[in-house]
């Protein structure tokens, strides 16, 4: 790589400027450290396989700019589909789990967890979920068998 002395000096200056004007905010570093507390060792991961936001054709042609956002997560055990509707200050989630089964749902966001019930048809709904990173933790309804599933974190 070209390492002219002039370049090296300019990069050193840029490095100082970056450290001075644009350091990583301390509260974000703290939050990233605290993120480790969300680790779920006992659950299978359902990865994000599609997001209508990034699926240009789908978002533009099928839904139009104002329609709900569609998220699709998949693990070896089940599939979770969610429609996200943004209200003024929060989001509403309407979702379904396949194969359909009753379950308990933790909606993990920020430093909080909201609970929701998944009905016999696999449907669930959650209101007032704040914008920001969210992950769903889905475990079998009490009395049921099976392993818990946790989704990738995704910002709403």
């Amino acid at each position: 790589m070209p390492d002219e002395p002039e370049d090296a000096e300019m990069e050193a200056g840029l490095r100082q400027a970056a450290a001075r004007f644009d350091p990583v905010p301390a509260e974000l570093i703290q939050a990233a450290k605290a993120a480790f507390g969300w680790r779920s060792v006992d659950a299978e991961l359902a990865e994000l396989v599609s997001d209508s936001l990034l699926d240009e054709a789908g978002a533009a042609l099928v839904r139009g700019a104002g329609g709900p956002r569609l998220l699709h997560f998949r693990s070896g055990l089940l599939t979770i589909e969610i429609e996200v509707t943004r209200t003024r200050s929060a989001c509403e989630l309407v979702g379904q789990i396949f194969p359909a089964q009753p379950a308990e749902l933790d909606i993990r966001h920020g430093a909080h967890v909201d609970r929701a019930r998944v009905d016999d048809l696999g449907r669930f709904r959650a209101e007032f979920v704040p914008a920001g990173p969210v992950s769903l933790y889905c475990r079998p309804a009490s009395g049921g068998t099976g392993i818990a599933v946790v989704t990738d974190w995704i910002p709403l």
Binding site: E11, R20, L53, S135
Partner: protein
């Protein structure tokens, strides 16, 4: 550029320890790579809230993937790829809610972030250094997005390796060196006042910053 086996091994060890539940290893990973993740986020035109969300989402994503990484020693590149994708997602989300002219124009940190009180306390030499650093910083922000993104990532602390830079920019490793040289040249021209690109109008005070100060 940090490239080499010992660092790779150290990073892999931290990943494996984190996967086993060692919180101090996780904190070491955060310390090692938050500069890289932040440098990527700052290369995009995102609001403060979106920047924070992307940063946090990137780390949260790693929490759930830490025990599934195919190449633990490449966790930096994994984070860089994740951060870049999340930046694009955030830019897209914003474009969807607010019709934006350009979604990925660079908005780097502004020099006026530091307090006036602090400036008063500075010595004359420090004031000159500050003026010079501001001029450099504004010149960086006025470069085409691809250039300012690349240079900002290269300035991350600690410095990323080329695999991480490639992942951060979504460009082949082989083109980093030449692009970097070209962008530095561009920056030098901007500082010399030979080039005034259209992007420079994004910073109203750039002209005043440019006048009368000479680096050196």
């Amino acid at each position: 550029m940090a490239v080499g086996q010992p660092q790779d091994e150290e990073v892999a060890t931290l990943v494996l320890a984190s996967a086993a539940g060692d919180a101090s290893a996780w904190e070491a990973l955060v310390a090692r790579f938050s500069g890289l993740v932040w440098s990527i986020v700052r290369g995009y035109r995102l609001t403060r809230a979106d920047s924070a969300d992307v940063f946090q989402t990137t780390w949260l994503r790693l929490v759930e993937h830490i025990d599934r990484l195919h190449a633990p020693e490449q966790v930096g590149a994994w984070l860089a790829t994740t951060a870049r994708r999340e930046c694009l997602r955030a830019a897209r989300a914003h474009a969807r809610s607010v019709p934006a002219d350009e979604t990925t124009l660079v908005l780097l940190g502004q020099p006026d972030d530091h307090s006036p009180e602090q400036a008063v306390l500075e010595t004359e030499q420090a004031r000159l250094d500050t003026a010079r650093a501001e001029r450099l910083w504004q010149a960086l922000a006025s470069l085409p997005p691809r250039c300012s993104q690349l240079l900002r990532v290269l300035m991350a602390s600690p410095p990323p390796n080329y695999a991480e830079v490639a992942a951060a920019l979504g460009m082949p490793v082989g083109s980093i060196g030449p692009t970097r040289a070209r962008c530095l040249q561009r920056l030098r021209e901007t500082l010399a006042g030979q080039v005034s690109g259209p992007a420079s109008s994004a910073h109203d005070h750039e002209q005043t910053g440019r006048e009368g100060t000479h680096a050196g």
